[in-house]
Symmetry: C2
């Protein structure tokens, strides 16, 4: 099953580079589909289209482009997103026709026609520019035949969806269910405009992840499994606190592994869930590590909040504070700024109860800078030995309840600003 790509030039900016920027992900047989999309009220046309189609339980293909987000593009944007799914269905159907004529022993489902309704669409890139549909049409037409030549071009999909990413993000796992070999593969993109808050069938944003599997599973169970995995991964990362208009995670599972179909009551479901959780968490962390201009990866544990919601509120306030993020950039264990961000977070905080400490990644030995309302006698220089490493853990305990939250966050650097600020003297950099 799956995927191929070709450079088509979908955005003003992308015309310059030579990067591939369109990919098709196709399953030969109908696949159970699940999708979660940005909760941003201003969401891109492809998100609206895909959210609707992800709700229909089965799908065949995904068309995705980078360079142009097709967001804030009005009615034309909706027409273009739908047209992209129609063009994809057409091109894939034509491919099957040709293959059908050549081959004799192909199974029935290979001939099954594919309609626009079976196709989901994702876009990422500039906001507010109409899709260059001529390029897109040519791209889809030229891309489809490549599907016939190879069935494992996942790497090129991971490349085609990159925008400001500096590296491909992909992962795969293999395990057994009922003695059947099951595989799950995933890839994603995302570097800026990253603080996803995804929900089922809502609107849009700009981290994209595509997960494909040959597992046999009920669509309802797939949806629940994806929700659980995303809640613990993509919805727990932040680079710059901006929730995109195009964020989407889409999963297709086509059943070719021929395991006994997974449902919530199946005892092997937990194994599948664990594998999916792993895939999503690793992909999500890759996004933070490749965050625009970032130099540090921080795992922030908030504990002891009144409830989980308070823990999340506190964590996001800390990880999105400009002052906290700049201190991380300098490797400064500035726990004063962390307490400040905690205090205005909206979570219930009693300063006299709070602990703030640091640890090496995954290390259980936490060194505290502030404990129960008082500075400890550990110097900032000593704490800086931990916080000047490229990765470290930050532990905050509010001692007010049992609420917990883990957030994967990045620092704010001069390079982030330089990368994102545009330049009035270079029109090509405006609106990017």
């Amino acid at each position: 099953m799956f995927c191929d790509i070709k450079r088509i030039g979908t955005g003003k900016g992308s015309e310059k580079g030579q990067k591939r920027d369109l990919a098709l992900i196709v399953s030969d047989v109908p696949a159970a589909v699940a999708g979660m999309f940005t909760t941003n009220q201003v969401c891109a046309a492809p998100v609206k289209v895909s959210a609707r189609r992800a709700a229909t339980k089965f799908a065949r293909a995904i068309v995705v482009n980078s360079g142009n987000a097709n967001a804030c593009t009005g009615r034309q944007g909706m027409r273009d997103a739908e047209e992209m799914t129609r063009l994809t269905a057409q091109a894939v159907a034509a491919l099957y026709e040709r293959r059908n004529r050549k081959e004799s022993a192909v199974t029935d489902y290979r001939y099954r026609r594919i309609s626009a309704q079976d196709v989901l669409v994702c876009s990422t890139g500039r906001i507010g520019i109409a899709m260059p549909m001529k390029n897109v049409e040519r791209g889809i037409r030229e891309c489809a035949p490549l599907l016939a030549r190879s069935t494992t071009n996942a790497r090129q999909v991971a490349e085609a969806i990159m925008t400001s990413d500096t590296r491909r993000k992909e992962i795969a796992v293999e395990f057994k269910i009922d003695n059947c070999r099951v595989r799950i593969g995933g890839n994603c993109k995302g570097a800026g405009m990253i603080q996803p808050g995804m929900a089922v069938a809502t609107k849009h944003a700009t981290m994209l992840a595509f997960i494909t599997s040959d597992v046999a599973i009920e669509p309802g169970s797939l949806k629940r499994a994806l929700e659980i995995a995303i809640a613990q991964s993509f919805n727990r990362i932040t680079v710059d606190g901006d929730m995109s208009t195009n964020d989407a995670v889409i999963m297709l599972a086509n059943g070719l592994a021929e395991n006994s179909k997974l449902g919530a009551r199946n005892s092997r479901f937990e194994l599948f869930q664990a594998a999916l959780n792993h895939i999503c968490l690793e992909l999500a962390k890759m996004i933070v590590r490749d965050g625009e201009g970032t130099s540090r990866f921080v795992t922030l544990h908030v504990r002891g909040a009144r409830h989980a919601r308070d823990a999340e509120t506190a964590a996001r306030s800390i990880a999105n504070s400009s002052l906290v993020k700049t201190s991380w950039c300098g490797g400064d264990p500035n726990w004063g700024r962390i307490l400040c961000a905690l205090g205005y977070s909206g979570a219930k905080v009693d300063e006299a109860m709070v602990d703030v400490g640091y640890a090496k990644p995954g290390d259980r030995k936490v060194i505290f800078g502030f404990r129960r309302g008082n500075p400890t006698n550990v110097s900032l220089q000593k704490l800086a030995k931990i916080t000047s490493a490229p990765e470290f853990d930050l532990h905050v305990d509010l001692h007010a309840g049992r609420g917990e939250f883990v957030l994967y966050a990045a620092d704010l650097t001069e390079n982030y600003v330089t990368f994102n600020k545009g330049d009035v003297n270079d029109p090509a950099t405006l609106g990017g």
Copy 2:
């Protein structure tokens, strides 16, 4: 009436410089007092002390230092803040004693003893470091006699409270009530950790403003007037979205103008309110214009929201978005990022109804980049002619109701990051 200063060195960092860093503001007669303080739950000891004393209606003096915030300093911090007020009362009382012996025709109230309860205290600077009380004590002792020599050292107060500020921030107005000349003077500091959200008698943050007047006014009316003025000024600014642990605005009005005492029912009250609004707004704008590393001042008008609260939510989301702020840094009229920040703000937004446009400061001619759900045909280059100026207006209309909010905001620059990031190789920069 009022003020004098001397360099005492209240913070680790400030020891190096030669800047004055302690000021006393003293009224010879009991003054009506009003104060508003940060709503940050983690608030500095001086905020806790001053909020309590501002509620007592009358006060005599304020002692303020820069360099050390006396925040997150536990019980010792509370003792130190109270000690600062005691030392101030003692030094000022001693001064009156001496003056009393020399002069013969002094009026009674000049002899009135002043107690610690009559003194408010403010601090700004590093968080989490104990106050160097020996220095503070010496500073107050050496500072008090200067009060006798001059009665108009407001400029030096404005200088003494500066931290990362690059310039003094002060303003004064004069007007007549009942043929009596009334004066109001104000000064403030603030450059980073700026998104005040102040309320009466709450906790703490790091923009400080001191407003003094000789107007005769009921304490209750003064408090209401200050609340109104702050809601339209200091609570409408943001530099980096961080609400400090020490923010405070304190006003003293001692009645020496001898106008008939202002109360809510007095017809001259509106004149006084207008003057106070002007003072507060100008001071607030000075803070944004001097924001750490900032290069642009943006007046953001949000209109047509469901209600005022939604308008404020939308405005703060836009003005605190890292991506919006970096685009401002580059002079990029990137309305796509504005729509994105609007969409995730939490305010009710219907993309198809939204307008986004720019204008020169105060200009009624708005040039729209996005209107009613569609990009206009105005190019980004054309819009950049407005947004590349040091100051411009941003207009957002949601067309969903009558809610309005104006927010004064700044961009995010590489210099902000450089200034705030600290350096692990230079211990003196850690924790700043």
